[in-house]
Amino acid sequence: MTAKGQAHEAHISWIKPAPSEVDAGSDITLMLQIECALKCTLEGQIKIEDAAGVVIKELALVSSEEQTNGTDEFVVKAPIWPGKYSWSASATCKNEEGILHVASPVSFSFTVKPHATSLAVWDIPSPVVIGSPFKIKVGVQCSAGCKLAGQCVAVVTQEGLQMGTATLGEGPWADTNTLYWAEADVAAPGSEGVFEWTVKFAQPNLEMAHAEGSYPFAFTAAKPPDHVVTVQVVDKEEKTPVPNALVMLYPYRGTTDERGVAKIGVSRGEYELRVPKMDKWKSYWTNIKVEQDLDVKAELSLAPIDPS
């Protein structure tokens, strides 16, 4: 039987304290120990409580060769809503003789942040044809890897006009684990030019708090083509076709097929025809004037090789 007056004074110290900022609903890893001025070996319980006294976690003290009167690393879940939180840790322990050890509760504070989101936009047609709806792919990722299937994204102009929407699909994009994506139908601008619009991930309807995200994307809008330029790309030395070569007639572009041929629809005008550097070949460029359908041959020269 232990009299109250015999209680030893003890205090709680952190081996692994809480970080000052945590993501909503994320795991917080903690570790602590009880120190007795008289070096008693203790048994007892640790309790983590929130500001309202609701018990978040209870666990037993452990003693091992590495440490005495401590805990292993343990995990508590952060609240799911953003804000500042103050929790406390308290302990009720006895030594081998049954003497009570009293430690004042230790409070600790942290801020819960909403999950960050980041976006990507790809497969944007180049160019977009004025007045013709087009499709783009949109992806959203949560910093904590939350499943975002079913969430909505919107495409808006610089003036804030909504031009399209999409709902994120069930599975993540290939070669990613967490990028949820959708194909969005987007209304095209009515004039030529370079446009910079934005995809927005706003007001998500998720269990955890998520920050809104946005990502700008640029595209060129051009008149519908009225002539076809057929470009035959060949190796200058071997006279063999070069497949998969990008052919640029800005803002129009195409890629050669297995026969080294790219057929590109363009509107009437003057262009710089460019086959950018690729593989073992140097760049090729020439100026052309398109007033009717046109055939052009582009001969690629080999790039110099390492001298050593």
């Binding site: 980041s118 180049s126 370079v194 990502y215 990008l246 550097k277 760049s283 090789i305 001298p307």
Partner: protein, 562 residues
Amino acid sequence: MSSDNKITRRDFIKGAAAGAAAAALPNLATTPVAAQSTSTVPAKWDYEADVIVVGSGGAGVACAAAAAEKKASVIVVEANDKIGGKTILAGGNLGIGGGTRMQIAKGYVENAEIIYQDRTDWTLRTDKTMTVEDVEGGKHTIGQWRRIAGAEDAEGLSRVFADRSLDTWNWLDKMGCPFIQANVSEFANVYRGSRYYTTTTPKPVNREGKPTDMMAGGAGLVWPMYDVAVKNGAKFFLKHKMTKIIREGERSGRVLGIQVDAGGKTLYFKAKKGVFLGTGSWKGNKNLKVLFLPWLIKYPHVSGEPYVNNDGSGIQAGLDIGASLTTDRGSDWHGWHRHAGSHWHSIKEPYGLPGTANEPLDNACIYVNANGKRFMSEEIGEDNPAWVGGSKPFYFAQICALQPGNEHGPIVWIILDDDARAKQKLDFTVGKVVYQEMYANAPTIAELATKINVPAATLTETVTRYNTLVAGGKDLDWGKKELAAKIEKPPFHAVMWGIQKHNTLGGLTINAKTQVMDWYSKPIPGLYAAGECAGGMDLIGLARPILFGRVAGETIADEKAI
């Protein structure tokens, strides 16, 4: 002149005993540097031979083979635990010609006079211009690469190079170098030495290694020369590093031999006919960097590392005994290598990771610094004829040198999307192709930025801005001509450039007989040099070290023994 002084087993036993005796003396290896700078002829030599060759790269093995063939006794000391120096890692594209059987087979016409003219007559060099950018992004149109600066006879070296090209190629051919064919390539006459260089079949760098080990054309040249040297009695001492050249007087008289550190033991090697320095480039030597190309100190890595380190100690040893230096005639203009994902060049297992086999196309990526900002046109140097293979001109490296860096040099990330990676079939396998700290991928640009420790908002802004420029068809920021692709398709990739100096040209002044010259243009008796430790002609690649290494071997073998 032949010599009867072949190295015998008895010599070795004697040498070993002498080495043990030397080890019992006061520890010379730890004697202060200042004390070592005075000339000290040892009371007793541990080894002696007609020719002491320092370094076993292309110059060293050519010298050893040529001298040994002429019946001179030869000892080669090599600091590394493997032979071959940087040459053994090379691609094996040999710029020696002059009418070889393979040139004739292809219908290419070349002779000594053509080679000599290509080296000395600047009017034969094309009058193309090129645009270079300065560090502030300004553009300047200037004449052809080294049109005048490189067109000279260089102490008569060009004449010898022209005259000895064909028989040196035949010498290598006869000893079994696995030549494939003659080839033509742009500007080869300017930087290779022959208009029609010869390719060489890659061979194992390490003969005793695994079948999966590194193969290199340079090994196809080094091993036959090594075999010829050994067959004719040359002895190779690995892990023996020259620490000093021993001359009769501090800066006078004949060179008598060298001092060597062999695992902490100091040994002395006497050269009865001559010491040959084939010790490689200065590009890993801070003092020589400051002398030749000061901003190179921003780059701690050199190509060939970690197989070789190019510490310039051979050049410094020459300077210590009174040799003169020839300025670098253009290695600022060329000879940079960059490899995505690795700090090394031409290094593969078991020596290191090679980086991506192809460099990401400039027209489908951007370069950003540690702040997440673009800082140059990615296609910088494309109109520079000094651009060869993975090389970029000095102004690429110079601009990168202005960016924030770490212990490996300037930090330059290549940012590309998965479309660009897939089209080029780029392999970024961590731990096999690229180093962990030099690569990251992520589903979004923001997360990629976090992974490579650059500000996410800045990198996002940079990529967005670039994509807008691509949409507009014009790089208003840096003047890049080919805006082939936006960076938009996930996952996104960041791979760090490893930038290394490939080669250098400046070094000890030599004459046409490869004798090292002093400040007063007098040969230092008994001292010869070739390869990257020697100055002279503005050739890069394997032609210069091998041809002049051979010339040195023949010349020294014909000297009178002391």
